[in-house]
């Protein structure tokens, strides 16, 4: 977050402030780190990718004349002899939101330069993410076991399988990439790279706790996408 005291620049709130920021020199997003601005724009682009997926899914589901399977049943689990609808998905949502919360706290402690706390929270987030991916793998194998394939689906419209594997697969890839980076950043935090301003491997920039926030943005975005997938794929 921005330390909003810039020499020679007077900040204004609201839309007036927006006009002033936009028409000022040097930066448009005042006090926003380059990497953070980049992550935001990247996420905007990524939003369009996921939107296109979900729009295609909506179009496919809306225009098929074969019945769409009821996700509530397909994704249900038998627990102790009771059929619980969407149980696994509910747990996955729970795990992902938990990890989102730990990430948010990691960012907070990062800015307070609390190295230990920040590192442990990132690690916790990574483990949450790993759990999520694991459960997704379980869900995939369960569906495949039941005969759902990208090209066919015993419960109804074949597009159900296609869209399910493609969209959750793409989301899962995002989560996996996030997990890898979470582990790397946990290492970097514990090693103190952000305290001493060590340069990264591929960049000339000096390490800073803002990088934790940048990764946090990505991680929250993954959670955000899951909110939409949960609503449109599992609850519709």
């Amino acid at each position: 977050m921005s330390d909003l005291k810039i020499e020679g620049y007077e900040f204004k709130p609201g839309f007036k402030g927006m006009a002033k920021d936009t028409s000022s020199d040097q930066t448009m997003f005042k006090g926003v780190h380059w990497g953070k601005a980049m992550m935001w724009i990247f996420l905007l682009s990524d939003t369009f990718i996921f939107s296109c997926f979900l729009i295609s899914y909506m179009k496919g589901r809306g225009s098929t004349i074969i019945d769409w399977p009821n996700p509530s049943e397909v994704f249900g689990l038998h627990v102790f002899g009771v059929q619980v609808p969407l149980l696994l998905i509910a747990i996955m949502t729970f795990v992902l939101i938990t990890s989102s919360g730990t990430m948010a706290l990691a960012v907070k402690y990062g800015y307070e330069k609390n190295r230990k706390m920040c590192g442990w929270l990132i690690l916790a987030t990574a483990i949450g993410g790993l759990t999520f991916v694991g459960m997704q793998a379980f869900e995939w194998s369960k569906l495949i076991h039941e005969g759902v394939r990208p090209w066919e689906n015993p419960f109804g419209a074949p597009q159900f399988g296609s869209f399910f594997f493609m969209i959750t697969g793409f989301h899962g890839t995002h989560v996996s990439i996030g997990v890898i980076f979470l582990f790397i950043y946990a290492y970097k935090t514990f090693a103190g790279h952000y305290d001493e301003g060590k340069r990264g491997w591929f960049t000339t920039m000096k390490g800073d706790y803002v990088e934790v926030e940048i990764l946090g943005l990505y991680w929250h975005f993954v959670d955000l996408v899951w909110v939409f997938i949960f609503a449109f794929f599992y609850l519709w």
Binding site: T22, D25, L44, S45, C52, S56, Q159
Partner: protein, 612 residues
């Protein structure tokens, strides 16, 4: 390792820096520029040949790399167009031109020219070279990412060209890659070819995203002191808006390409309905081919402006510099660029009026499409009003600009035909469309590219390109291209459909034989004329006239680097400060007919600068 990084000093502002005491009413504060907000950028300087020229992190080198690779693929596209014209003008002359090959060449020509040539050249080439220089940055903000961007593009081109050598050859589904035919037998390259095309596009999009993030953040967050958005040259505005479009439009292409790959490889049915092929029902069902068209054109229409907007921006700068006059209505020009960019997301289905989509869309898309004509027309008016009462240097650069205006206005007006829904019905899928889009997004941007090459070559190499060769190059290209595409509209009026391998068996088309021969000959000449430029460049690099510092007397920052050509880091040890817009030409009362952007107000105290 530490000496690999330069440690530029962050310059804090002093309000009293460089002040001439005199001038009526010009006080100390007139030259004030706010202090730097962020520390100066550290750069990695390469030492070996490989880190300096191949895996280089300098945006200027990357720009040249993009330029060269895009030009290389462009030449392949050009050769393919020759082969196509050979078939159309003189069918049967070349025995290897079978229908399969013809359609493969059509497809590859289209895709190469739109994506791998024009997009890469404008954004990757000019964008990389000019953005940091024009906004006064040391480099792109993420040099390493920028390098990866180029190499992704390199791999994408490699994969694309590899498809010429796989079984079945490259895809022949037309550059729009419409399913179901793109992945069904009956279309050449339906197996490997389309697969490699999709992979190549995905790689291109990934690489471009890396580059695009760089362009955007450099423009938004790394401008030099005093450089406000409304002081940026229009070139930067054009490239900036085009990059925004690309970042938001390429996702749709990525998704489309991915889904089509899955249809092809895994047998999913995203775009595939039940299909009967050679008496057998294939294992597809329930998909919608029109969905792909929506995704494709949601990308495809902004793509048109991804090519056009940088051209708009660059040509504005070229006209202004060489007419020695400020660009007329700068604000209007900026808002027109931004407005066209924003509107371009709401017009995509005007490519699909006869595609069988919901017929009521026609009303919506015809209206939005024709609304775009207004800002576009304003830009045209402003270009010619910039010439009005200017002092026009009729050199090669200006000739290309004039050529651009003629071809662009021509192509833009035929666009009004095709955007207006019921006028489009008889004309769509005919040669009229071919003529229209080649005129407006083939020839017109090409004119700008050529003008830009002649304009900025002295900056890149320190030498002038030969004017004499340049004029030959221009007249052959302009007159040739005009005589290819102007008559072609009339083939469309007759009703000759596009993508016909041969067409002379229809009674009312036979009259077009002569014209097709003429067009083909013109195409051969225009294509050959492009090699004049290559010869010119090679010759100039050896024996060209040295250009020196700011040879065109331009105002914008890229000419004001301490060294020509600019070094890595661009600005020596001090970043420039900017005091005015990039168009202070012929200001009354000024000593010279241009005032550079870095000239502080106190130095031009007597002149009547309206806007700083």
């Amino acid at each position: 390792m530490s000496e690999d990084f330069n440690n530029n000093k962050t310059i804090q502002a002093q309000s009293s820096e460089a002040i001439s005491g005199g001038g009526s009413g010009v006080g100390v504060d007139a030259d004030y520029v706010r202090p730097a907000e962020v520390a100066d950028q550290d750069l990695y300087h390469g030492h070996s040949f490989i880190t300096k020229w191949i895996f280089c992190q300098d945006a200027k080198v990357i720009g040249v790399q993009y330029f060269l690779l895009a030009t290389f693929t462009g030449i392949i596209g050009l050769i393919l167009s020759w082969l196509m014209r050979l078939q159309l003008g003189f069918p049967g002359l070349a025995p290897f031109m079978t229908a399969e090959h013809y359609y493969q060449f059509v497809t590859m020509h289209g895709m190469i020219m739109v994506v791998y040539f024009l997009t890469a050249l404008f954004l990757g080439g000019f964008g990389n070279y000019l953005i940091p220089l024009m906004v006064g940055a040391r480099d792109m903000v993420f040099p390493y990412l920028n390098m990866v961007s180029f190499w992704s593009f390199f791999v994408a081109v490699g994969v694309l060209l590899a498809s010429f050598f796989v079984p079945g050859g490259p895809t022949g589904s037309g550059w729009t890659l419409y399913p179901p035919q793109a992945i069904l037998e009956g279309t050449p390259g339906s197996g490997w070819g389309i697969m490699l095309m999709c992979i190549s596009l995905i790689l291109f999009v990934a690489g471009f995203t890396m580059g695009g993030l760089n362009y955007l953040i450099t423009i938004l967050q790394a401008r030099t002191r005093g450089m406000t958005l409304m002081r940026m040259p229009l070139t930067v505005w054009g490239i900036f808006t085009a990059t925004v479009l690309a970042m938001l439009a390429f996702p749709a292409l990525l998704v489309g390409a991915l889904m089509m790959s899955l249809d092809n490889v895994l047998g999913t049915s995203f775009f595939m309905p039940t299909i009967l092929k050679a008496g057998e029902v294939l294992e597809y069902g329930g998909g919608s081919p029109i969905l792909f068209q929506h995704l494709f054109w949601f990308f495809g229409h902004p793509e048109v402006y991804i090519v056009a907007l940088p051209a708009f921006g660059i040509v504005s700068d070229l006209i202004s510099v060489h007419a020695r006059k400020n660009i007329f209505g700068y604000r209007m020009m900026v808002w027109a660029i931004v407005g066209i960019g924003a509107l371009s997301f709401f017009v995509w289905a005007h490519h699909m009026y006869v595609s069988g989509m919901n017929p009521w869309f026609g009303f919506f898309f015809a209206t939005t499409t024709l609304i775009i004509a207004v800002p576009t027309a304003m830009k045209v008016y402003n270009w010619i009003l910039t010439l009005w009462r200017g002092n026009i240097r009729l050199n090669t650069v200006m000739l290309w600009c004039l050529g651009f205006i003629v071809t662009f206005v021509n192509g833009g007006i035929t666009g009004i035909f095709l955007g207006n829904v019921s006028v489009d019905v008889p004309l769509s899928d005919t040669y009229f469309v071919i003529a229209h889009f080649h005129m407006v997004m083939g020839i017109a941007p090409l004119m700008v590219i050529m003008g830009a090459v002649y304009h900025w070559f002295p900056l890149v190499s320190g030498r002038f390109l030969s004017e004499k060769l340049g004029k030959w190059h221009f007249w052959l290209t302009f007159l040739g291209a005009y005589s290819i595409y102007f008559p072609m509209h009339y083939l469309g009026f007759i009703g000759v459909p596009r993508r016909y391998f041969e067409m002379y068996d229809s009674p009312y088309v036979t009259s077009a034989v002569g014209m097709n021969e003429f067009i083909s000959i013109a195409a051969f000449i225009v294509g050959a004329a492009q090699f004049i430029l290559i010869y010119n460049i090679i010759k100039t690099l050896k024996t060209g006239k040295p250009a020196g510092h700011n040879p065109w007397q331009a105002c914008s920052l890229e000419w004001l680097t301490p060294t020509v050509p600019p070094e890595h880091g661009n600005w020596g040890d001090r970043l420039p400060t900017v005091h005015r817009w990039a168009y202070d030409y012929s200001v009354p009362g000024a000593k010279e007919d241009f005032i550079t952007q870095t000239t502080p107000p106190s130095e031009v105290a007597g002149s009547k600068v309206e806007k700083t």
